[in-house]
Amino acid sequence: MAKLEVKNLSMSYDGKNKILEDLSLSIQDGELVSILGPSGCGKTTTLRIIAGLLKQTDGEIIVGEKNISNLPVHKREFGMVFQSYALFPHLSVFNNVAFGLKMRKLDKKQIQEKVENVLSVTGLSDLAKRFPAELSGGQQQRVSLARALVINPQVLLLDEPLSNLDAKLRVEMREEIRRLQQELKMTAIFVTHDQEECFAISDKVAVMNRGRVEQFDTPQAIYQEPKTLFVAKFIGFENFIKVVGYDGEAYLTESNIKLAAQAKENTRYLTIRPRQIKIIETANDSENVVKGRIINRTYLGNSYRYTVKTSLGVLKVDDFEHDVLSRDEDVILELAVKNLLPLEN
């Protein structure tokens, strides 16, 4: 259990294509940080470099006060949970969990004690004598977690641990992981491509794209105030309005319309959630009002989703309040200043 610092990590296999570029992360003692991103963004590579399974081209990894950048994997004192569980097929549950302790040459009594303890914490006591092939996916993942926790690792690394489980089990297991991590005050890194999963259990989230961290923040901050176009798209924003300038009061869009929003440097786009666009009866003098025509309508259960063609481009609008509107109807939309977020590229 310790603070983990990743400084200016770079990774490249051939010197030209950078898989990671100048990546830095700082994880406090006892924090669970998720690395979120689409496949190929470098999140697993980052985790594998931290674990020591891959060697970085450049950069440093510091655990506590110790620089472990060049320490071989078997000396790093980490626990790791793999997507494929990676249990040792020839060993019983007990011996799978005991493996790391045996490598550390603990005496039999201590091993027995520690393994029994961690098996009971993870709810596996009854399965100690079974072999991996005799366990369900969820049970295997618990064993994998127990094996990682038993050595009381400096940092717990989780590489998409839930993606092989079915939906219900996934929710159960992520709560279990969070509970154990908090009980044991474990520093943990959780790699995933599922935003709901990572928002649910993380203290902080690093959203990655193309080998860089786009935003490193609390889940709330990322959800409410994405900083870049990529992050906004990734967490489900759908309306993006390109802007070309700022005149001190409002942004100027490509289509020469002025939109007021919070001033921020390097703003390239404005975004707003579909349910935050209001359909209003009459155009008032207030800011950020635009006319449009409905070109498509979809029923979403608790609301209607309208696709509206406006001079700002096509906007998606979710409406819960009004009567059902039909295609080709003209509407007036209000994009409230407080809901319109500026985004960097």
Binding site: G52, M80, F82, A86, L87, F88, H90, G100, M103, A133
Partner: protein, 262 residues
Amino acid sequence: MLDRKNKPLLIFGLVVMFIILVPLVLVVITSFGNQPTISLPIKGFTFEWYKNILQQPDFVDGFKMSLFVALIASFSALLIGIPAVYALTRYNLQHAEWFQSFFLSPTLIPEIVVGFALYQTAVISFKLPLLISLLVGHFLLCLPYVIRLVSASMLILDPHIEEAAWVSGCTKGQAFFLVVLPNIKASVIAAFMMCFINSFNNIPISLFLNGPALNMLPTAILNYLQNNYDPTVSAISVVLMIFTAVMMWVVEKFLGVNKLVK
């Protein structure tokens, strides 16, 4: 498992078994016949031919030599083959398929050609001792079995298992012996059996590389058959069948292939 209610399949299986087993049964029967040549039906019952095996120094020496060569060839094929397979399946080697086909190539070349080529190069050109050439020949015969069988089980073994072992504190060497080897044990044993049986029964390679003091059992049997057509040959065949079966049983019993293959 075979569904016992599936009658057509059962019948088909029995027919195949019958075709395979009948010649063996006939050999067993002729080995007890008291006529001076191999013939059926037998007129009387005798152990004469089994006694005669021990009267033939070629058979006794050949057996020892074949056993020696088969063991050395099989073990050296495992020693070279397993690391080769590990490298081929675990490292992102350039031209990995090329190496793979290279290691498997001895199976493509007729054994008689391997024998002749070795005789030409190893014995005639490089003046290597016959025994060494013979061992090299049998090693080449064995290697493809190791590569094929062991790489099949390496490929289905999750590479993350090894990584999990490293993270748990194993060096790469420890991880190989503690985690990889126990999980590919079944294929290693199977490869050993295939190597041993093929080397022990091989004629084409041994034919070119035998000499005055180098007498292999299969070639000895072939030689004997050229001059005598008596049931001693049947008798030694039966002995070999029993020897192989017992060996399988012992390996099976003490290393437990079935225990691992679930």
